[in-house]
């Protein structure tokens, strides 16, 4: 075990005696006098219910979290009275501008309000009513195999960091848990879709997985969030929109419609967090630009993965006939342009100007060819 409480409570006579006394009705009620702010919360809009925004009050509010969280290393609920020897949780991320985004609280509430359930919200039987051609179904099976690999990384990233982020950032950590739930739900939907179609799963992508691992293990949270929420999230959002626009079945359209909603929240958080980070730590612009010079190649590992791009061409073109493949290639070329232009625009909005990079030159050459 990595940590032992400061005593074995089965051997602590004072604790056992106090418990016995309380159980006999001798209440101490010392906690009646907790030195905390007495505040009555109320929903601003009854239609939304009581939200985190409604309880952003006084010492309990997220507005009062300082830039540097010092002397708050326990799991104490923000705003409660701290007494005695509270354990040090060893949090590694204690700076507000390393994690915060001004939209994160709204995004958390939104993620709960806009939840969906793949088991019942996807009209699975439509695939029985209107089955796809063999080549389209195989393309879907492969695409959803690839999408699962990405969803697993979307799940792993917040899971990797959430326990290392200071407990003061309650709302942010809640949003990270919502991200995990989103990713788990997408993983579920993609897996069910692949297996419902009858073709099973396809092949894993080496280039995509090698690159995704590089992003997942970025050495700081701001860098990892940039990779997973902005680069991967933006890429997946464009991919889901593409599949929805060329959806071969109603099932695929519905899944991708919900998927784009979930992923757009991750992108919004990622861009907001990057913007907040650079506003408060402008000196990081140079470092992040240098980091991106090395990290952007992964986008090509994703885009260039035959396990993605070939099924995407077949789905976008509607089949494997020559004209369909040609049409699919045109649509995928536009997809790459769209993804790239939106990526550059998001970074510019957040405060990072990317121009004439190795990645941009390579994409330009590929599109020109």
């Amino acid at each position: 075990m990595a940590f032992y409480a400061d005593k074995d409570y089965t051997q602590d006579q004072s604790v056992l005696e106090a418990m016995a006394a309380v159980m006999q009705g001798q209440l101490t009620l010392h906690w009646f006098n907790a030195r905390t702010e007495k505040i009555k919360a109320a929903p601003q809009d009854p239609r939304r219910g009581l939200t985190y925004q409604d309880i952003d009050l006084g010492t309990y509010g997220y507005r009062s979290i300082p830039e540097f969280v010092r002397n708050q290393q326990s799991m104490v609920a923000r705003g409660s009275e701290k007494v005695g020897k509270l354990p040090d949780m060893g949090y590694l991320v204690n700076r507000r501008s390393d994690v915060w985004s001004d939209n994160v609280v709204a995004l958390y509430e939104e993620s709960k309000a806009r939840r969906w359930a793949p088991a019942v919200d996807v009209p699975w039987a439509e695939l029985d009513r209107c089955p796809l051609s063999s080549e389209l179904e195989r393309a879907c099976a492969q695409l959803y195999t690839f999408a699962q690999e990405c969803a697993l990384v979307e799940l792993d990233f917040p899971a990797r960091w959430v326990a290392l982020i200071n407990q003061e950032f309650i709302e942010l950590k809640s949003f990270m848990c919502a991200q995990m739930l989103d990713a788990a739900r997408l993983l579920e939907a993609f897996r069910k879709r692949a297996l419902y179609g009858g073709e099973g799963l396809g092949r894993a992508s080496v280039s995509a997985e090698q690159g995704l691992k590089e992003w997942l293990w970025a050495d700081t949270y701001p860098r990892g969030s940039l990779c997973i929420n902005v680069l991967l999230g933006g890429f997946l959002l464009a991919l889901y929109r593409q599949v929805a626009a060329f959806a071969p079945s109603k099932v695929d359209r519905v899944i991708m419609g919900y998927a784009m909603q979930d992923m757009a929240r991750h992108v919004s958080y990622g861009v907001g967090a990057l913007k907040y980070h650079l506003q408060h730590q402008p000196e990081q612009k140079i470092a992040l630009n240098a980091f991106l010079d090395e990290a952007e190649h992964v986008l090509l590992g994703l885009l260039g993965s035959p396990e993605l791009i070939e099924p995407l061409i077949i789905i976008s073109g509607g089949g494997l006939a020559r004209e369909q493949v040609r049409s699919g290639c045109t649509a995928v070329r536009k997809f790459v342009e769209l993804e790239h232009s939106e990526y550059v625009r998001r970074l510019r909005y957040a405060g990072l100007e990317r121009s004439d990079t190795r990645f941009q030159r390579t994409v330009g050459q590929l599109l020109a060819g």
Partner: protein, 188 residues
């Protein structure tokens, strides 16, 4: 296609100004709505594009609260631009919680005050609305995601990516809102 009368960014020379409708004007619209709508049936057709069209959708959305509650909060302000014969009709839709809180017709769309704007030729909008009427909801070729995807049928304009992403965060609700057109008799 000529460029729509959109002033991008916060530095637009003329800020988008909200038109304040006099109460009497709203009352007239309500009376008109009651005239054309009788127990779920429309007695008169509603012209697209018009404020009446969006007002009718607003009313339909209010009647379908359970449907929209299932989809979750929708908090966004966006513009719709419809071009016909070189002139534009522009509308601003303000969604809040589960409803269309406000809709206005404006002379121009100021992207600095909108999350995004969807603009395009009237014939594209018409095809979408007619498709919705035929099928009860837009099919894949005629839904907003497909029509805007490459910007070839309808275009999405925005000043800030965060606003743009709201189109996708709330896409299901926005599409369901337009799908309510299936309940209207629309003329063009």
């Amino acid at each position: 296609m000529p460029n729509p009368p959109i002033k991008p960014g916060a530095d637009a020379p003329r800020l988008y100004q909200r038109r304040v409708f006099r109460q009497s004007k709203w009352e007239k619209r309500e009376r008109l709505y009651l005239l054309v709508h009788d127990r779920g049936k429309y007695l008169m057709s509603i012209k697209f594009p018009s404020l009446d069209y969006f007002t009718a959708l607003k009313r339909e959305m209010a009647l379908e609260q359970e449907r929209f509650k299932r989809l979750g909060f929708i908090d966004t302000t966006f513009g719709i631009g419809v071009s016909q014969n070189g002139s534009w009709r522009n509308f601003v839709l303000v969604f809040e919680v589960f409803e269309l809180k406000e809709v206005q017709e404006v002379s121009e769309l100021n992207l600095g005050q909108l999350d995004f704007a969807i603009v395009g030729e009237n014939n594209v909008w018409r095809e979408m609305i007619e498709n919705i009427k035929r099928h009860g909801q837009a099919d894949t070729a005629h839904d907003l995601n497909t029509l805007t995807h490459f910007g070839e049928a309808l275009q999405v304009r925005y000043a800030e990516p965060e606003g743009h992403d709201k189109l996708y965060r709330f896409m299901e609700s926005i599409q369901e809102f337009f799908d309510l057109s299936s309940k209207l008799e629309v003329s063009f």
